[in-house]
């Protein structure tokens, strides 16, 4: 990037503390609630709060006046203020809406850094000289934000991050070199203000709680501790907090340089319904975007495709692109993606608003950066192998369609199936469920190597051959002794046994055909999991791990299920009972046990996963 941090060099201002940078901070109070109100179309004086998890994370001024505070539970907040509007938490919305504030501030100052949505860091030195004084700069900033982004803001200036944030909250300008004294009498929990991420904030809050228990209440008392002891006791967080409390900056601000997104739009003369029509337009639009990027000397790392239907719905998807350096590849690459996406919508296979003819199509290059300053890939450097692999995958995607190649990532969840998020290769990932959350009831490790995409039916029987059930109190009716998998449809013996009167059912051959019972060696459970009990798609199930005994009736059902994915194929090749040999003449008996994960739900058993 061309714009680097403007460091204070020999300007007299920073001689007292050479490691700090003069900064101004623009703070929009209660940003999440301001952004949410604007999106909901409500006026800023509505009593409102943003709810995340179990508590309010931001409260509007009107609600605060009515007695609602941050961190309050929903019920308590509503009892204090019955007309309170509760808005959902959405980090993406906060960040998106804050762009307006950032660009308003950029009309006054050349480069600003978004510390977090709601907080802007501004290099004060040059800008203050330009505007005459820091007071004039602050005034210009507040006016610009009020005019263009239509929200109230507060500006403060000081040396260092923490002092500047506190100064903004108090709307004061701390004279150069006075930041340490300014911070000294403040309580130690002020430190949390300077944390930018949630994880960091938690670490700082822990530090603060320890400090308070040690009898250290102000930043002055904290900085009086010997630096070595602070590091020895609190590690990296302690060192960071000490530098912050002394008004010293950890790093000079990284400036946000405005590069406008490059947009190419196409309006259909008459609404387009056919894929062929779209394919042509997709190619044209992609080439135009490629040309526009080339003309600007830029490349982009993300492309957003927006199509509007004649019902007024808009369909959006973001794609990651890493093809900037390959000549001509970009246009083709993007044309394919536009085409796949539109095909998906028009054919109704992809999720989204109701199918309708398209009226316009826009392709927007986002995260635009100058050519030649490519970012490394997420997983490391740009290497030939990565490029080769990616090209191969794109080729397969061209062959099989968008969902033909998937990338996987781990996410939070309880059952093995829920713990995986699958996305079309190259598609920008939507936020997954957080892994760090506790997920009580999660099936413990080891993770099963085979997870059936769709659970297969299963019979779990007791010693007498009657089905094992789990009741509401998690009582297992009898110890499971036998397990029957669904038989292979091609397995004539199992089909015949199913038809035979001794199988117990009379007339017809409906219902699953069961394979021979497999003896259970050991089992554990049941482990109850009740998910989303408040919603339509609630599930209530009890999991059980069952190890099957190897030997005579070998555990092939699970493996065959695993191999075929949808259960009930390809059992036939293997032996039934003792002494059969497989195709190569090897003895297949005496093969060991597999373990399975079974779930009891709605009165029947399902095979969820196989530990093979």
């Amino acid at each position: 990037m061309a714009a680097r941090a403007v460091r204070a060099v020999g300007s007299g201002l920073t001689q007292a503390a050479p490691s700090t940078t003069r900064r101004a901070v623009l703070w929009v109070p209660d940003w999440p609630v301001v952004a949410a109100l604007a999106q909901a179309g409500l006026t800023p004086d509505t009593p409102a709060a943003v709810l995340h998890g179990r508590g309010m994370i931001a409260v509007s001024a009107a609600a605060r006046a009515a007695g609602v505070a941050r961190g309050m539970r929903k019920r308590l907040a509503q009892s204090r203020c019955p007309q309170l509007v509760i808005l959902p938490h959405d980090e993406g919305r906060d960040a998106r809406a804050f762009e307006a504030v950032a660009s308003a501030a950029e009309q006054v100052v050349a480069g600003v850094e978004i510390t977090r949505p709601g907080l802007l860091m501004i290099p004060a030195e040059g800008a203050a000289r330009f505007h005459g004084s820091e007071e004039a700069l602050a005034e210009a900033l507040v006016t610009a934000v009020a005019e263009h982004a239509r929200c109230e803001s507060a500006v403060g200036a000081a040396d260092g991050l923490l002092a500047a944030i506190v100064a903004a909250r108090q709307q004061v300008i701390v004279s150069p070199g006075a930041s340490a004294e300014f911070l000294a009498p403040l309580p130690v929990d002020t430190l949390a203000l300077a944390a930018t991420e949630r994880a960091q904030r938690q670490a700082v809050e822990e530090l603060v709680s320890v400090l308070v228990r040690l009898g250290i209440f102000t930043l002055q008392e904290f900085t009086a501790l010997p630096a070595a002891d602070v590091v020895a006791r609190f590690g990296a967080v302690g060192a960071w907090a000490r530098r912050m409390a002394l008004g010293e900056d950890v790093a000079p601000p990284v400036l946000r340089r405005q590069e406008d997104d490059i947009t190419v739009e196409h309006a259909f003369e008459e609404p387009a319904e056919r894929v062929e029509q779209l394919a042509f337009v997709a190619e044209q639009v992609a080439q135009e975007l490629d040309a526009a990027l080339l003309a600007a000397g830029m490349r982009c790392s993300r492309v957003r495709i927006v199509a509007t239907t004649d019902r007024g719905d808009s369909l959006e998807r973001v794609w990651r692109t890493d093809v900037g350096t390959r000549a001509n590849a970009f246009a083709k690459h993007m044309a394919d993606r536009v085409r796949w996406q539109l095909e998906g919508w028009l054919s109704g296979t992809a999720a989204g608003p109701e199918r309708a003819p398209l009226t316009s199509l826009a392709v927007i290059a986002e995260d635009v950066i100058p050519l030649g300053s490519e970012q490394a890939y997420l997983w490391g450097g740009v290497s030939g192998a990565d490029d080769r692999a990616r090209r191969a995958l794109e080729r397969i995607q061209g062959l099989l369609g968008l969902e033909g190649v998937l990338s996987a990532r781990e996410q939070g969840g309880r059952s093995p199936r829920d713990r995986v998020q699958l996305l079309a290769w190259g598609q920008e990932a939507q936020p997954a469920r957080r892994i760090e959350h506790p997920w009580p009831g999660q099936i413990p490790d080891p993770a099963p190597a085979t997870v059936l995409p769709v659970p297969a039916p299963l019979q779990v029987l007791d010693a007498g051959g009657s089905p094992v059930t789990v009741d509401r109190r998690l009582r297992v009716s009898a110890p499971p002794t036998w397990v029957r998998f669904e038989a292979d449809p091609r397995d004539a013996v199992a089909q015949a046994a199913h038809r035979h009167p001794s199988s117990g059912h009379v007339g017809g051959d409906d219902g699953p055909v069961w394979d021979v019972p497999q003896p259970v060696e050991a089992w554990a459970g049941p482990w109850p999991v009740v998910e989303r009990w408040w919603s339509e798609d609630s599930s209530r199930r009890a999991y059980m791990q069952i190890a099957l005994r190897g030997g005579g009736g070998e555990a092939r059902g699970g493996e065959a299920h695993g191999a075929e994915g949808h259960g009930g194929e390809a059992h036939g090749a293997e032996g039934r009972g003792g002494g059969r040999r497989d195709v190569d003449g090897r003895d297949v008996d005496g093969r060991g046990a597999v373990a399975i994960l079974a779930a009891f739900t709605g009165g029947r058993w399902q095979l969820e996963a196989v530990y093979d």
């Binding site: 062959l399 085979t450 997870v451 190897g550 065959a560 597999v594």
Partner: protein, 235 residues
């Protein structure tokens, strides 16, 4: 004059031999012509395949998806790209626990009728390709894929259920002969450790039986417990 040319020739040969010895000393003399460095393999699996995952080779693994994932794990951790073709049921969490880097993992769950083309494209681009059991591949397709893998230096792992026929022309065939889970009781405990006996059939070698322990606690092969060779027999 003849003598002088003969001595010059001998001197040239000696110089060439010296250069060859030096190169052999530098990169190892055992390597045959055209052979590439094998993909890394977890230390605990070294007993299973003393030669490592030879590039360009085809291996069949029957009876354990965990073993397939473990074989691919170390290579993926070291930067190789892995594709899993035709296995919609593979456990991703298990793959991650075995060391596979999900950022360099691509899944082609249902290639359908295009299986041969998709697998060939994977062989071209990836370092290690796992092929599922139910792929629509003819024997000719399989031979072509094997040849392509040999040419590109890609490792093909053909996974199959216990008792499945091996991939024709596979260099090594790993068959899980028995496995035993521990940690479960009668309604208590949970799955923890797993011991398995794997028969290694290598072309032109005696069949070896190796016991391996899968450590459920950490989900990795326990480094201390190396596989032990139980018995060797002539195939």
């Amino acid at each position: 004059m003849f003598e002088s040319s003969a001595t010059a020739r001998e001197a040239r040969i000696a110089a060439a031999r010296a250069a060859l010895t030096e190169v052999q000393a530098r990169i190892g003399a055992e390597r045959e012509g055209g052979e590439r460095t094998p993909l890394p393999l977890a230390e605990s699996l070294a007993e299973l395949l003393p030669g490592g995952l030879r590039r360009g080779s085809v291996m069949s693994v029957a009876g354990s998806t965990s073993l397939v994932l473990a074989l691919a794990g170390e290579a993926s951790k070291e930067g190789s790209w892995v594709a899993i073709v035709g296995m919609p049921q593979v456990g991703i969490v298990a793959a991650a626990r075995r060391g596979i880097d999900l950022g360099r993992l691509a899944l082609v769950p249902h290639p359908g009728a295009q299986a041969a083309t998709a697998a060939a494209a994977c062989v071209d681009g990836m370092d290690l390709v796992v092929l599922g059991h139910g792929l629509a591949l003819s024997d000719a397709d399989r031979r072509r894929l094997g040849a392509r893998a040999r040419e590109r230096g890609t490792v093909l792992l053909a996974a199959g259920p216990a008792g499945a026929t091996a991939w024709p022309g596979s260099r090594v065939e790993l068959v899980v002969e028995s496995s035993h889970w521990s940690g479960l009781g009668a309604g208590d405990g949970r799955l923890r450790d797993r011991d398995m006996v794997v028969a290694v059939r290598e072309r032109g070698r005696a069949v070896r039986r190796v016991t391996l322990r899968l450590d459920g606690e950490r989900g990795v092969w326990r480094p201390g417990v190396r596989g032990t060779v139980l018995a060797e027999e002539v195939a």
